[in-house]
């Protein structure tokens, strides 16, 4: 893989700082394992309450698709971090992917709509920055769907942000690793543009983050 004619300069590090240097994000959790056990409701069940459970809510969220990659659900993407149930009131905690991603607002709207359709009397979406979303959180199913969609899945980097930029990328069509990066920026914030020398055609990669 050819990246550039000259290697990039070393990155400024945190050494010598009064404040401790950068810590790698915590090891990623696959979607689902980030699930939090919902607190037992102290409310008494009355007539008309929807009998929502953790599993029902997670299954519903698995049907809400990423607006920019419509084959990938928000659960596959790993942005749903926790679901809290209090009777028929649902609170979902999510993390944004890229900071400037315009799909964030749309995702919140889609989650609320889906939860209301499910019978939630109140649907709240909390957006949290920590721990920061990592492309490592895209689950195996999500990676399979990305490839089928024509987007090369991001390499799993375990939080090592230096290595992730140089990892091998394979063509989603022919699996060749004889590829050339054309642009580390693409049609959306989460995509890079590659060229497959075997297919002799361009393809996009979901960028590691």
């Amino acid at each position: 893989m050819k990246i550039s004619p000259s290697p990039p300069a070393p990155l400024p590090q945190g050494e010598g700082s009064q404040i401790p240097p950068y810590q790698s994000p915590p090891l990623p959790l696959p979607a689902g394992e980030g699930r939090t056990v919902s607190p037992v409701s102290t409310r008494s069940w009355g007539e008309g309450d929807a009998h929502l459970t953790d599993d029902i809510v997670w299954a519903a969220l698995a049907e809400v698709m990423d607006p920019e990659i419509p084959v990938l659900s928000l659960v596959d993407l790993g942005v749903i971090r926790a679901v809290y149930l209090a009777g028929d009131q649902v609170t979902v905690t999510m993390t944004p992917t890229f900071s400037g991603c315009p799909a964030l607002v749309e995702m919140q709207r889609l989650i609320k709509e889906r939860l209301q359709a499910l019978g939630a009397s109140e649907a709240t979406v909390n957006v949290v920055l920590a721990p920061p979303w990592s492309s490592d959180w895209i689950n195996a199913e999500g990676r399979r769907k990305l490839k089928a969609f024509g987007l090369a899945p991001p390499p799993v980097h375990g939080g090592d942000v230096q290595i992730m930029l140089f990892d091998t990328v394979t063509c989603p069509r022919c699996d060749s690793d004889d590829v050339t990066v054309r642009n580390t920026f693409g049609s959306t914030l989460c995509r890079a543009i590659y060229y497959c020398n075997r297919c002799q055609d361009a393809f996009e990669q979901f960028k590691p983050l």
């Binding site: 400024p12 945190g14 920055l129 930029l165």
Partner: protein, 250 residues
């Protein structure tokens, strides 16, 4: 949090937010005008990332003061902005834009690496979120600076000219503002002198490898309330639509 700390933190977060917003706007001016399509796309992405970072910083300001980020961005005058003069400069040529981006990316990475350990947890969380995105920017801008600096006679001349204009403006990024000493004492914000040393230790050898000569010009501490003459025009352009209908909902 006492009043002095609250005020100092608000000002510092606002400065970071304003830097990101103004730089994003300058970079967005290239959309449709970059030398090649790939670069048009790349710079639009970088601008969108910086805008996203600005949104996060404005969000932290809002959490402290209740100020709506959109009002902060579109309804303040130049005198109320805290942006650095480096990011206010017109986009110039490609060498100027790439060198400014490089100098700023190196500064931002230096800052974010330290802020990740801030005692103010929301700033630490924000820094960790942004840092991986900045690495993409830094790679991109540093490769361009090197390529142009070591390219043709003309590209080198343009890069040197850009450096002559930009270098004196970098000092302001590392000059502490009134109240910053309170932030540093609280462990909320890193030490500016140490940051500058670290930044210099990365930037100087890199520029020398590009056979670029850094001028001896040393600027005194410039308050962030002092702006270049370019900010007014930028704001007039950026805020025009929002101010045309103050009550519009977007």
């Amino acid at each position: 949090m006492n009043d002095a700390l609250h005020t100092a933190l608000t000002n510092r977060l606002l400065a970071s937010a304003d830097d990101e917003l103004i730089l994003a706007h300058r970079n967005a001016e290239w959309t449709g005008h970059a030398p090649i399509l790939e670069e048009d796309i790349a710079l639009a992405n970088i601008a969108q990332d910086e805008l996203g970072h600005g949104t996060i910083w404005y969000g932290l300001v809002e959490a402290l003061t209740g100020d709506d980020p959109d009002r902060l961005a579109f309804f303040r005058d130049a005198s109320q902005f805290c942006s650095a003069q480096l990011v206010e400069q017109p986009r110039g040529d490609w060498a100027f834009t790439m060198l400014r981006q490089y100098l700023f990316d190196a500064y931002e990475l230096t800052l974010l690496a330290r802020l990740a350990g801030s005692a103010y947890q929301p700033a630490a969380d924000a820094a960790v979120r942004m840092r991986n995105e900045e690495i993409y920017h830094y790679r991109h801008s540093s490769v361009w600076v090197r390529r142009l600096a070591l390219g043709t006679e003309e590209s080198h001349r343009r890069m040197q000219r850009a450096l002559n204009e930009l270098w004196p403006l970098t000092g302001q990024l590392f000059s502490a503002q009134p109240g910053d000493e309170i932030l540093m004492a609280a462990g909320y914000w890193p030490d500016f002198d140490e940051m500058k040393q670290s930044w210099m230790s990365v930037v100087m050898p890199f520029l020398e490898q590009g056979e670029l000569v850094v001028s001896d010009l040393v600027d005194g501490p410039v308050d962030r309330s002092e702006h270049s003459g370019h900010l007014n025009g930028l704001l007039a352009d950026m805020q025009m639509v929002a101010r045309a209908d103050r009550e519009a909902v977007w």
